[in-house]
Amino acid sequence: MPLTIGIDVGGTNTDAVLVSARGVHKKAKIPTIKDNLLQSVLEALEAVYDPHSEKNLERICISTTLTTNSIVEENYDKVGLLCLPGPGLHPKYLPFHESMEILPGYVDHRGRIVKDLNPNTVRQAVEKFLKKDIKRFAVVGKFSNRNPELEMKIHDLIIGEYSDVKHISLGHRVTSRIGFPRRIATAYLNAAVYRKHKEFADAVENALGSKGITAPVFILKGDGGTINLEASRRLCVHTILSGPAASIMGQITLTGEHPAAALIDIGGTTTDIAIMLNGSPVFERSGAEISGYKTSVRALYSRSIGIGGDSAVKVENGVLQIGPHREGPAVIFGGNTPTPTDAAAALGKVPCADPKVAKEALKPLADSLNVTIKKTAELIIEETAQSIANAVKNIVVSLSNRPVYTVKEVLEPLVIELQKLIGIGGPSPVLTPLVAEKLGIDYEIAPVHQVANAVGAAAARPTTVATVHCDTSTGYYSISELGIKKEIGKKNWNIDKVTAIAKKAVEKRARSRTGYQDIDFSREVEITTHEEFNVVRGFQTVGKIMEVKAQIKPGAVFSLTHWKEGEENDHSS
């Protein structure tokens, strides 16, 4: 029975599970050591690691907050940003413009080099940064996703002439997406957190090596997929926001793939809401946003609202006010301010809690509202569930009202009709049924919520993308993520050919990652962009512009929907 270890480093706790398709065999929860995430990971690993089953340990997947924290706390390296913006938006509006050197040379929207590089300006800029002891670089050109040549030339020049330079992040490699400012932010942050992530990755590798653990290690990304430790070094920025992704993947592993579902993770202070359509979680449209930076990092769509089990409940001007702040734990767990959890306890819905204490805590609120304590408790639960239900509804509306660019999409708009609500988190058993009732849909509560994120990290399959942009009238195709730009000559390529190339590229990228040899690519590869335009000049069709993006969609490599908590399986086969 192949085993996986999943580790989720959270803000407060680090969870670990030893898991297989048969169920969770071991689980552990240890406090996170803020300043030493490596130590947290190793301790959590130690807690579930079983030397007897080493030969069956197929992989280790880690979801860490390392890069996220580093960016949020601005605790990262200074980066020398070399930009090729060409004409357009004033560079003063670009992210990280204060660390930017603008170089001449640019590419236009067709991927044609309008103006070539001047190697001397590159040298001057690099030396300027090196003088300031900045040794990590990001190189980003406008439309470099259409033609990576200028970025690659700069890369080769720096590598060839400056041995002091420690790292270079290239825009077209970190993302193939259109959007120059986002590409800049993505490449900059990638270079900025590179050292920290690399040190972490090296240390994990060394620690495992010294223990004799040979199973390959994967890191969870914000898109709910995994990436192997080696590749994660170069693309470290993609590991941001893996926390919400771990939660979503956990819910999918534990409850299955649904045609149209809302996933709610009700915590102490906040509730995170995600949406699943056709069995896959919905993505952020243009990329993740972190610390005010809009990036091109693929991320699962997740919205947080300020309401949870520990939200402070008050009465203001005769009206119940729930959240958005937390003033401590529930009164039944030693806090001072009543919370929805206390309301649930007052109604006898929290096992192991004393309803009397809860009732006492709600009394002042009941007095202000001039109703019974029972009624107050019911109102609080009702109101909390209503707020969550409203947030879910708003999310569905905003996802349905997305801009569309074809007549067909206007006439056949995306209609999201939720069928199921998936709940996870401590307050979930009490609140999920009520939220579902308000939405008029079925619900399901994920078991083992305490370690669901670690389960999610363990089960997540590797994801990757490949974008093929082909312009037969200029005679080239490019695959930005792989740094490929090739001539196609006079060949008459069609969209099927381009699609085949994209599928092959994405499979090749994914297959290079040991630990997932058994994935069925024919099922997991999907085409997310499929565009074809005739290029007409002077009333003559002179070629085609085609773009196909293929991805391995996020999902679970095994499902635990039939597994019941408590069935601690014997895995020593």
Binding site: G88, P91, H109, K142, R182, Y293, V404, Y405, V407, V410
Partner: protein, 450 residues
Amino acid sequence: MITAPKKTGILFFPAFDWAISPDHPEREERLLYTRDQIFEEGLLDIEGIIEYPPRITNYANLLRAHICVPGPEEITTESHLISAGGCNVIADAVLNQEIQSGFAIVRPPGHHAMRITHGSRGFCNINIESVMVEYIRKKYNIKRIAIVDTDAHHADGTQDIYYNDPDVLHISIHQDGRTLFPGTGFIGEAGGPAAYGTTLNVPVPPHTSDEGLLYIMNNLVLPVLNEFKPEIVINAAGQDNHYSDPLTNMNISARGYAKLNELLKPDIVVLEGGYSIEGALPYVNTGIILALAGLDYSHVLEPDLTADKIKQSPKITEDIKKTVDQLLLLFSNRTRIDLNKIFGKGEFYHRTRRIFYDTDNLLDEQKEQIYRCDNCSGYRLVHSWVNSFNKSNYTTYVVIIPRDACPGCVKRAEERWQEKQKSGGYDYIFLQDLVNERYERVPKYQVSLP
């Protein structure tokens, strides 16, 4: 992260699956490079620039602006209804004060579509600005509106719809009609008997550049707007006045167009023509968005632009100055002028026109009568005879009751409408009653109108 000083709405509807015909300038590819440029520049990510999804409009909204012959179903496609509906979305956002100004980057365009429209001319079937103007007037109780049309072609359709409407100021700045389709738009076309001076045509010589266009803005358009005091200003932003446009001979640059919008401060901008899809549209649209949002557009530059390329000759500058002076005089004298000298002394003002539909290959010969009423702009009667190359010929008679019609005109128009139904003799007889919102046809419409 930057924030736009002015909240700006963008409705982008490139109709990536619609074309007049595969090789036609109005085809799927037209806004492809504009999308690439706008998205690559990250304009829609800027805080304060809001993208709105499109919405399809209904036939009822078309019939306030148009008499569609034989009916709206026959002469429109869904893309026309979405293009017009997209403008309405932006109008709603502006008038609900969600945004300070908005830009509908939509296709197909509309400014050659006449009040009585028989199909496609100059790539236009439905006048998207006019449909929007009528929507605004109906929904928001707004009366005075100014449309400044900067497409290189004369906005003959919009002019036709508002020719006798004193509450809509229509200014069209275009390449001289002696040198370009549709061949109209001369200074003398200055409005009907009830609206003289609220149609202003500014024909400019070929090779007019930013200098000339901005001169017209500063010396004619802005002073006239200042006096007219519209509640809403619309820029019909055709981009075929660009120096790289294949169909025209003007010399406007992206930065010039941005400057124009910075000066004009329109509430709503609507894309019209523009067929230099690679060399102009990506840059012009970027420039307009930045200008509307109050952001610096000084780095917007076409890759192949040099100052020499669009240098304007002194002769052109002189010609433009003369035109502007004439129009200023016309506008300032508009209430003092003896209208009988222009429109005759008769009970009706008569005019005869031949309107060619280049795309659909048909010719509409119109005889129009406008009743000269002291109390309102007067009802209108139009006889139209269509000679079609592709279909059989047909005749149409139209009775129009304008929105400001006095009870007397409503009554007189109603009598004509009844008479014509009895006497017959036409393939189609239409009533467009903007007072009581009656839009009827004999024989009765096959489509149900909401």
